[in-house]
Subunit: 491 residues, 3 copies
């Protein structure tokens, strides 16, 4: 029956954004928390706000400042907290103090003990805190969870189930109980198996964008290479050679000559591993052999490489559109006007140059537009709304379209310059030639793989067919489940 | 009690991105999979990683390559797999081989049989695979599910419940069991009713952006029309008439004159159906008659039309900002400087032209900014965070603001040109006049509908009031639930 | 056992986007709806489509237009509807008519009564509709819910669990039953506690971007201030002083001088409250005293202030890139070319001005790029995928990088102008000087707080240490749960 005292509403009013407490309702499970520090407080606030009863156990309950814990939370000794909890007890204290709970072993027997600690160092190789807790309390069911939620998110976060809580445990019933609790608190539980996963879960909050490390490094190295090459070819060597002062180009113009090269090569690196994998499968005649480790990792980093390519391409576009804002551009134009008047040239129109500039600008804008569509579908909420066929159409189809347009943009930009000797000062070819090497290899490779004989053979291999050297015994018609037809870009 | 052997953690370590297997824990349900192909393998990997026991049934279990299925998966004959499964059995084989399972009918009786196949053709009119399976196995409960998840997503996808699995079945208990299984595997189940929905579910992965077909076609036709009109009026006819060579304009300038017209007309097409619907409701005097089919479809495509309009407007902005980068612009400026010097004109400032250009640029930037806000709220994650009142404010309020700013941008751009005879070469009006027709009709219509008498009557009709010709008998005060007050843009 | 008649599939076919009805399956719970208006109809459509049985109670069931409610919905009197419902009954009628249901009190005893009404006014101080309903029906369990879902979203919305339904009730069992129902209908339930929360839930759909009110006002005031200052200093006073006509600058140039100032000050306002809070904690020597209300609210509005700053910065970038498109820019260049030719100057290159312009453009583009990364991580779907460490790295680390780059952009733009007397017409300093005041204070403050002594002390305080004046009794080693190490930007 409805009852209880429900004084303070939960939604934020104009004076305070913190939810007020609610006392326990008869029938509501009571959750215990051992420890009375900051995390214990945030956890208590969230539990009480979701309608749970909470009893906090501390070694010195009298010393806890009043008003620290929300109304409705009972502050007791550790023993009383463990006994007062119905089933779930949170161990919200430093892992190095776990052994101090030894006296509660019998009280915790049969209860679910949730370990909320984080690891202190990545890859230390030691057993995880949860595993140590499981050894200390063999009669309890230890569940690892909640460590990925910060105290701030517990107190003030949304109740909309969008933030994930990683959970693992060896005991399925306890795990199910904690999963239910997670849902009631407004989070989204993710089950990661047995307690062997606890080390990885404890290290999860220490990661800093783990899949981005390699791609960012590659992009940075490419940038340094092309920037250094441009600096050498256009600034330093002309200066050493005939005292031409081009150092003013360093902040903007040299960067703007570097970014497109980096974007182009990185975009090629997105589609190259797919080709390498296809060639490997064709060569081996089977798809059941695992790829080399480096190829596997490369295949998993394609999304990050693509987004970095889009970032560089977008920055290149913005830098280019700012070229005419520069004083240097103004001075150049004024000097050119002076020379034209002094030379008495009435019309300085060169039709070829006009076509060249309009064509490469047009290809560049179209290529950037297609890359933008690709980047938008990489957003989590948009990507999840696409089915597999739509996703492949965008990532593979539009991706190759973007690569082609970018190559055309670069070729139009180059026009016939590569055939003039002016393009090779100090025997250094222009940057756009260097940048075109890898993308052209990728495009040609993709076209070759589209030849009917190769396409058909590769499709067969991907459906499970194996060349004779891999079949160990004659197979009769083993019905193979029809895997969704795969595109080259999606190995 | 905790037990079992949990060797390999589930989260990706640095050497491998594929989750390792976990053996079955006593108490974990055992799921059966008939078929040993690619999909069966991916399904087994995911099930084992989420703590289920898996027994795979194949006609020739000895011939399955070792190492293909993860550790912990039992490879048995089909009969043994069906018997070994606790309740759920996946039929992971080609639909044309379903009849080969006839001998397992008694073993499958009372069990839940999940059909994971996709349709091969859209709109073929045949019964779905799930319905055929239900006919073959009348004693089993057939559930349609998992076909929208690709093998790749099963193996390597996130466990975060963001990817949807469409499910349908005639038996609610079986459906509930599969829904629970879907959640444990880390997906998000969507219940679509009875087995009659299975045809649609089977066709779901074959769709390629179904709601976008019509709008993209409309936008493309508008583009071709305006591009052809511009080509005729500015390039071809002047060439045929007096040999003026404007062909260099085709890649960039003509496109830049076409895109804004397409964007403007498409934006008007977003708000026109709302006005047509309002007029229909006013004319009929009731809101309970259904709209014509074409109007219903048009109303449902408004979001896609709006996003295409934003795409064209953004491309127009980028093309415009690149206008000064073109060699043609440089030559034009240099030639103009030459002429000014030769004419001895010290100050070529024309105040009117300065105001015109600043005003239309300003309106254009503001209009694009408002369209960007509209596009951002169309993202799934942002749109879902808005309540109905906020969503209407943005889509309707900001939407009409964007339309108004775009019309002002075009009018300022046109300035007084439409009144000069130069604007009508070959009796063809300038493009901006053509593009303005529909948006002005929409804006005027919206203003008319804001007149108090019409607004009041329409609000009454939308609250459920009906004009006398629709009431069939005198109604006493029927309490009508107060529907949220609706804005014109949201029919 | 499977049975029932499942005629119409649920997914949209090409002719109709509305789902058809499904008759009730034996075993499916029956839900009752009192009221037969628009909302009742939408609710019935959704319930039937999710496989529930529905009985609608109306005072005059015969007068309901045929075809209004979907097939399978039973239209009965109110008494029959209440009796026919298994457990849950929706009260889909106007709150002012609740008293007319008094006669159903005994029929509703023990059943779950769901109140779906919205409040009509914000902050009216009256008891909520749900509380009045609970008083009228003390034997029923009143649950507040569904009012945030509009009729349109019920009929045509996605079944993907992304739209939230706020729920509250004093009775936990009833709340759990409604939560289950919400999930089956394809929504995402959010539990907000007891019935005291119903007032806030009823007002929820009336809010219009509540957290944005203050930040938008602040940004608007800053814009008006800087625009007025620029107008005074550059347009009005020169006009009154010596008749210089700069009014053409008002639409675009003055706006473009205002936007960067607004963006810079707003960005400083994002990081200032964190510094104030840190100083307060250092001064007080404890973190357990609550912040003043204004500081709390300011800290909660930082995300909105940051997004507004990004909006202004992006608009400033677009306005700047359009500067060369203006006729005024063309005329200025032509006049300058004329003067240069007349003066016989062959090379007007000024190296300092070239460096200045390239440097400030470069810093501006980099700053905008970093702000874009910040804005992208503010999207709900992206932000939820980051763990706490990554989120702090982006928001705090990249945030201060953006602030630094923006300050450098402004300083390079200013160059040495501030030291010239030309910069102070009418004793008014240039805008960029005014705009730099607050950001420089923030940056200097942040650098000061990074001094080892202050950092160490603040970290201690944030771990729970208190200075002696706050400790009321000697504490022994109270184990404190290790809270995640917090960055200054994340109080």
């Amino acid at each position: 029956m409805p009852g209880g005292d429900m004084k303070t509403p939960l939604l934020a009013d104009s004076d305070s954004d913190a939810p007020g407490p609610l006392p326990r309702l008869p029938g509501n499970p009571v959750v215990g928390i051992i420890g009375s520090g900051d995390y214990s407080r945030s956890l208590a606030i969230r539990l009480v706000a979701s309608g749970f009863g909470v009893v906090v156990g501390s070694r010195n309950p009298q010393r806890i400042a009043s008003g620290l814990f929300p109304e409705g939370v009972q502050l007791r000794s550790q023993r009383e907290a463990v006994d007062g909890a119905d089933r779930v007890v949170f161990a919200a204290l430093y892992p190095e103090h776990y052994h101090t709970l030894a006296g509660l072993r019998d009280g915790l027997a049969g209860k679910v003990l949730v370990d909320v600690s984080n690891a202190t160092r990545l890859n230390s190789g030691e057993p995880s805190h949860a595993e140590r807790l499981a050894e200390l309390f063999p009669q309890s069911r230890v569940v690892k969870g909640f460590n990925v939620i910060s105290a701030w998110a517990l107190q003030a976060g949304a109740h909309d189930g969008s933030r994930q809580v990683l959970i693992c445990s060896d005991c399925c019933d306890s795990k199910a109980a904690v999963v239910q609790l997670v849902r009631r608190l407004g989070f989204s539980p993710v089950d990661l198996g047995g307690l062997a996963a606890s080390r990885a879960i404890e290290e999860a909050p220490l990661h800093l964008f783990p899949p981005w490390g390699g791609p960012v490094l590659v992009t940075l190295l490419l940038f340094l290479f092309f920037y250094g090459y441009n600096f050498l070819r256009r600034v330093l060597l002309p200066y050493l050679d005939h005292g031409e002062n081009n150092f003013y180009q360093l902040p903007l113009q040299t960067v703007n000559q570097t970014l497109p090269a980096v974007a182009l090569v990185t975009l090629a690196l997105v589609y190259l591993p797919g080709l390498v994998a296809a060639v490997l499968q064709l060569g081996r005649g089977t798809k059941y052999e695992r790829f080399p480790g480096w190829l596997d990792r490369w295949l998993c980093r394609r999304k990050q490489l693509g987004l970095l390519s889009f970032l560089c391409a977008g920055a290149h576009a913005v830098y280019s559109m700012c070229l005419t804002l520069r004083r240097a551009a103004g001075y150049t134009l004024l000097n050119a006007a002076y020379r034209q008047v002094k030379a008495g040239v009435e019309n300085s129109w060169v039709e070829q140059q006009v076509w060249r500039s309009d064509l490469y600008l047009s290809c560049g804008i179209l290529g950037l537009g297609v890359l933008t569509l690709l980047a938008i579908t990489s957003l989590p909420s948009v990507g999840n709304a696409l089915n597999w066929r739509e996703f492949t159409f965008v990532q593979s189809g539009l991706g190759y379209a973007a690569l082609t347009l970018s190559i055309m943009h670069t070729l139009f930009f180059g026009w016939d310059f590569a055939f003039s000797s002016l393009a090779y000062p100090y025997f250094l070819p222009p940057v756009f030639l260097l940048a075109l090497i890898l993308p052209c290899i990728v495009l040609v490779g993709r076209v070759l793989l589209a030849l009917p004989c190769l396409t058909f053979r590769l499709a067969k291999i991907r459906r499970g067919w194996e060349s004779s050297r891999h079949r160990r015994c004659p197979r009769d018609q083993e019905p193979i489940e029809e895997a969704p037809p795969q595109n080259f870009g999606d190995v």
